[in-house]
Amino acid sequence: MLVPLPRPTPESPTLEDPRLSDVDEWGRSEHMRELARTLYDPVYRHWFRAEWEGLEKIPVEGGALLVANHAAALPSDAPVIMHGIETELQRRVYGLADHLFKAVPVVGTLWSRVGGVAAHPENAYRLLREQQQLVLVFPEGSKGPGKLYEERYKLRRFGRGGFVEIAMRAGVPVVPIAVVGAEESMPIVAKLPGLARTLGLPYAPITANMLLLGPLGGLIYLPAKFRLRVLDPIRFDVPPDQDRYSKSRIMDEAESIRVQLQETLYDMLRNRRSVWFG
C-alpha cells in the first residue's frame, strides 16, 4: 500500500484570512490585553506595589511552565504575575484556569480575551510544545485560594503532579515562582460549605474584605505588598512526546518543587517586616 507523501509546504499558497479582530485561536486578544494592562497598571504599581526578584530566570524565548502558589478568595496572584512578566519581559503569558471559567457568562469571555485558557492537557501541550509560549499554572488548584487565613502560606498538595507530566511531555522547563502578598489581599476568615455545595462552587468564603467593606468587599483587595521571587528553572532529563512517564518520578518531582517553593516562602516571610509595606 502506498503511503501518501505530504506535499512540500512552499507549494501551498497563503490563504486570504479576512479577520476583523485580533482574537487568536485561544480567544486571546492583544488589544484587550493592552487595555487590561493600562487599567491594571495602577493597581500593580501603587496598590500592590509588586516587586520581582529573579525575573531574568524566565526564559526569553521558548516555552516554559510557570508554577506558583495560589491564594486569595478571588485570586489576585494570576493578574499580578501575568502583568509583571508581560510588561517587564514583553513576553505573553497564557494562564491555565479551571474549565469552570468557560461556563460563566461575561467573566468567562473576558478571562479568555486576556489570555485565560482552560486547563486541559491538550491545550497545555499545544501552547508549550508547538507554540513555545509561557504558560502559568497553579498546581494547588482551588485548594490554595480556599485556605483559611490561619493556614496561609502552608502549601497544599500539588495535585497528582500533572503539571510535571505536562512539562515533561512538552519538553519545557518548570519555573517556580513564589508569591508573597496574595494571601493577605483577600483573606478568608470563614467558609460556608453548605452554600458552596448548593451553588456548585469550590468554596463559599467570608473574607476580611467583606467584613470591613461590606458587599463591595467581594471585589476590593486589601493593599498587601506583593513580592515575587522566581526560582531556577527545573529541566527534566526525559525525552518529550512520550506516551507515559514514570508516575513515581512525576510525584517525586512535584513534591520536590512544592518543598522548594515552601522553603522559599518561609525565607521571604522571615524577611518581611510588614504585610502592607514589605
Binding site: 501518501p4 490563504l15 482574537v23 485561536e25 469552570l100 482552560a118
Partner: protein, 348 residues
Amino acid sequence: MGRRVLITGLQSFWGGRVAQALEGNPDVDVIVGLDTDEPTLPLERTEFVRADQSYSILSRIVRATQVDTILHTFLVVDSTRVSSRTLHEQNVIGTMNLLAAAGASGSSVRHVVVKSSTLVYGSSWQDPVWFREELPRVAPAQSRVERSLVEVESYLRDFAEDNPHVTVTLLRFANVLGTDISTPITRALQLPLVPCVFGFDPMIQFVEEDDVVRAIEFVTNAGLPGVYNVAGDGRLPWSEVAAICGKRLAPLPPTGTSLAAAAMAPLGVELPPELLDLLRYGRGVDNRRLKQAGFDYRYTSAGAVASFAQAVRLRRTVGSPRPSYRYEQDVEQFFRHSPAVIRDPAGT
C-alpha cells in the same frame, strides 16, 4: 478499469455536487445516485434511482451494479430539516443497510467514504481548544442528531474492523458556510438581528462549501483510510462572524436559553439544542491530518464567512445567479440511454 461509484443522498446539497465533481473525472466509469427525491442539479451521466428513507433497496443495487466505491453523503446533520423519527431512520437505519450491503459476502465494494460532522465532538465547557481525531467527546451526546451521528460512527468502526479489505474513510466536517448552502447558522446570520447567548462569545470554526466537495473528491481519488477532520484554519468569535456579515447581535438569556429559543420558533428562528451549545462554547478541530495527507484548503474559517457574506449580498440584489433546475424523468432517460445521443469520447 475505471471506478464505479455509488452516491447516497443525490438530492441532498452534497450528493449532487459530489456527483458533478466526479463526472469530470475520466477515471470514474459509472456513477449511480440514490435518494428519496429527484436531484436538484443538472447531471450528465449520473444515474438516479429513487429509494426509501432507509435505503432497503441498496443491497440489490450494489449487487447489480458491482460498484467498488460508496460515497455516503446522505447523513442528516441539520436537525431542523427533518423530524426526529426521520432523522433516526435516515441516519442510523440507512447506514446500517448501507454497511450491510457493502459488507455482504461477494460484495464488490472496496472503498466507503462517509460524510460525518464535527457535531460528534459536541460542544461543552470542558472541551480542549482543538479536538484531534483521536480525542473522545467530553460528555455523552444529548441532542438527537449528535446521538445518531455517534451511533453511525460506531457502526462504521465495527464495519471497518470486520471488513479489513474495505478502505473506510470517515470525514468530519465543521460547520459549512458558502454561496449556496442553507443551514440553521446561515439562516441565523441572515436575520435582522443575529442571536447569541448573553455573556458568551465563542470561537467557531467553519469550512467552505467548495472545500467540502474537494475534500470528498480528494479522499475518494487517493483512497485514504481513517478519520479526518475537515475544517478551515483558525477560529473566529461569533461576534466577528456577525460583523463580517454586517449584522448586530441580539442576546438570549444565559439561563433558560432553550426556553427563549423555543419562544422564538414561531418567528421562524430555528435554534436547535446543538446550535445553542455551539453558540455558548464553540468548537475547534485540528485539521492537520488531512493537510498532511496532501489536501490543500482554499479557504480559512474567516474566508468561508467572507464567501458567505459576499453571496448573501449578491443574492439580496440580483436574486440567485444560478437558474433553478427541475428534474424531468423522460429528458434524463433520453440523455442517458437513447441511441440517438452521441457519447463524446472525451466525456461530456
